[in-house]
């Protein structure tokens, strides 16, 4: 039969014989939750970031706003180079990262066991949850003046604020992950002859581990916010301090350079967590 143009059900004209398969595919709707190849994902992500960047470039170079308020990308780059060249960028980063790692590690080291015991024991939950909930609703940053009186601008003060900001959220999220461990897993553990302690360690913890790592990743994001706040208010070093001192000279390029650098560091930590997750839990097929 001659390849005459035909019209499909929806009325769109199309060539009949040569490529019917691709025509069918083109019309198929994207399925919800459909997975896509990694390079596809990366491409979309890069485009999305590029659009954001171009928008910034456009707004700042076309004089739509005063560059004092929104410096151009070139100015920010220049500020970054200056900041980097005298070594302060490295020092600021080091101080901030040490603080966040310490605060986060202390919070997590306590939150993980406490959260697990709250999850498996109603008695522990009853004892711990009410005070945790109570403190959780007190804004962590409101403790800054108090901690400054207690500890001055000592490193301890930063760690304490990070702890207050992170621990009380973290412990409840971990408890929830432990609560949803399927009961059959626990009962199976008992029928295998495990003691309560073995069940907690070998079954409950392992079953909740992916959720716990996810919680840590999310809490790390909050930790960054609290770190910067605490450095803005009372510190002599660190990324927040650098932003704060730039503000005194209306040095908006440095402020933006600091903010973007914090974003990049945060993203790096996030990536590290995700990489660890995929490595440690290969059975969680869907990953992210």
């Amino acid at each position: 039969m001659a390849p005459t143009p035909t019209v499909d059900a929806e009325g769109a004209p199309q060539a009949s014989a040569p490529e019917p398969r691709s025509a069918v595919r083109r019309r198929r709707k994207r399925a919800l939750y459909e997975s896509i190849p990694t390079h596809h994902y990366a491409l979309i992500a890069v485009i999305s970031l590029a659009v954001l960047f171009l928008l910034w470039l456009f707004i700042s170079t076309r004089g739509l706003v005063n560059t004092l308020f929104l410096p151009t990308p070139m100015e920010v780059w220049q500020a970054t180079v200056t900041w980097q060249s005298d070594g302060t960028m490295l020092l600021d980063t080091k101080d901030s990262v040490i603080r966040i790692l310490l605060g986060f590690a202390i919070s997590s080291a306590i939150a993980i066991p406490v959260g697990i015991f709250m999850g498996v024991s109603k008695r522990v939950e009853a004892a711990v949850e009410p005070p945790v909930d109570f403190i959780r609703y007190m804004p962590a940053v409101a403790f800054i003046p108090l901690t400054l009186i207690w500890f001055g601008t000592d490193e301890i003060q930063k760690i304490v604020i990070l702890f207050i900001g992170v621990f009380f959220q973290e412990v409840l999220l971990i408890m929830d992950h432990v609560k949803v461990v399927p009961r059959q897993y626990v009962e199976m553990g008992y029928t295998l002859g495990f003691t309560r302690w073995q069940v907690i360690r070998r079954v409950v913890f392992r079953s909740a581990a992916p959720g716990i790592v996810d919680t840590l990743r999310i809490c790390m994001g909050w930790a960054w916010t609290y770190l910067v706040v605490v450095e803005l208010v009372g510190a002599n070093s660190g990324l927040g301090f650098r932003i704060q001192s730039a503000q005194r000279y209306l040095d908006t390029p440095t402020i933006l350079a600091g903010i973007i650098w914090i974003g990049i560091l945060g993203l790096t930590f996030d990536f590290a967590f995700k990489a660890f997750y995929n490595k440690a839990f290969p059975y969680m097929k869907r990953g992210r």
Binding site: M188, T191, L192, Q198, R202, A209, P282, Y283, K285
Partner: protein
């Protein structure tokens, strides 16, 4: 005769709201001999799982005692190998590691060998390194069976292990279980609501009535072994099947409270 397992007048009631107790099992008395295969058969909700969980030590009877080798069962233990109704493989362990996981009191060096042996028994040697999420439902239940077998338990407790499988796979799994049972001289207490399944597998079928669960009748299944698929067409099998079906039907009507509705429709 000294029985391996004796469910000695076990009753169980669950606390409803405000001290209102709901009797689920009423004075169940049943024995299981060494090397015997006994099924618990009954309609959904009649308390089969509850009874098995009591034997497993996961649930405490309200009244009565379960004896295993003359000792009262007070807690779960490795002398009873449990296969649950739902799939209970640990998703973070491969098939092989799931079986090894059960072998806590075996020296570490010997575990892989034993695990490999039992995966071989259930025909899954090629899937030893697969995670449960990469296995079909039937395969997962086979690993679960291998895990229970690896404990070398005194008795296997199986709660509708093939309930979620299609008829074809189910039949094959029954054959597999029978071959293992004959090979290892296992003692099995097997829960099912499938009449044919109970007859094909068991030496005796304990038919449970519903609301509360009582032993309605214990049916001896004197069919020749090894049992082949064609047995299902034999006259003895069909007679037994009809008998058990009618027992179950009466109980199901009672349990669902559908008696009046069905009578109105003129059915049966």
């Amino acid at each position: 005769m000294a029985d391996l397992l004796h469910i000695d007048h076990v009753s169980k009631s669950f606390e409803q709201r405000k001290g209102d107790a709901h009797l689920v099992l009423d004075s169940i008395d049943l024995t299981l001999g060494e090397g015997e295969f006994v099924s618990l058969l009954g309609a959904s909700g009649c308390g089969k799982s509850t009874l098995l969980r009591i034997v497993a030590g996961l649930e405490v009877p309200s009244d009565g005692v379960v004896w295993l080798d003359g000792h009262e069962i007070v807690a779960p233990g490795r002398d009873r190998g449990m296969v649950f109704q739902q799939y209970t493989l640990y998703p973070w362990l491969t098939a092989k590691r799931n079986v090894e996981f059960a072998l806590v009191d075996t020296p570490k060096k010997e575990r892989p060998e034993i695990a490999a042996e039992y995966l071989e028994v259930v025909g899954l040697s090629d899937f030893a390194d697969h995670f449960p999420s990469q296995l079909s439902g039937g395969m997962q239940q086979r690993v679960a069976i291998a895990r229970a077998l690896a404990l070398r338990p005194r008795v296997m407790l199986m709660d509708e292990p093939f309930g979620a499988l299609d008829a074809q796979t189910r039949g094959l799994m029954q054959e597999l279980l029978l071959s293992i049972w004959e090979r290892d001289r296992l003692s099995v207490l097997f829960v099912t609501h499938d009449v044919e399944e109970s007859l094909i597998l068991s030496d005796r079928v304990c038919v449970l009535g519903a609301r509360p669960g009582r032993v309605r009748e214990i049916v001896n299944v004197d069919l020749p072994r090894p049992r082949v698929y064609e047995l299902r067409d034999s006259a003895e099998f069909i007679t037994l099947k009809h008998h058990v079906h009618s027992l179950i039907h009466d109980e199901a009507v009672k349990a669902t409270g559908l008696g009046n509705v069905l009578a109105r429709g003129g059915y049966s």
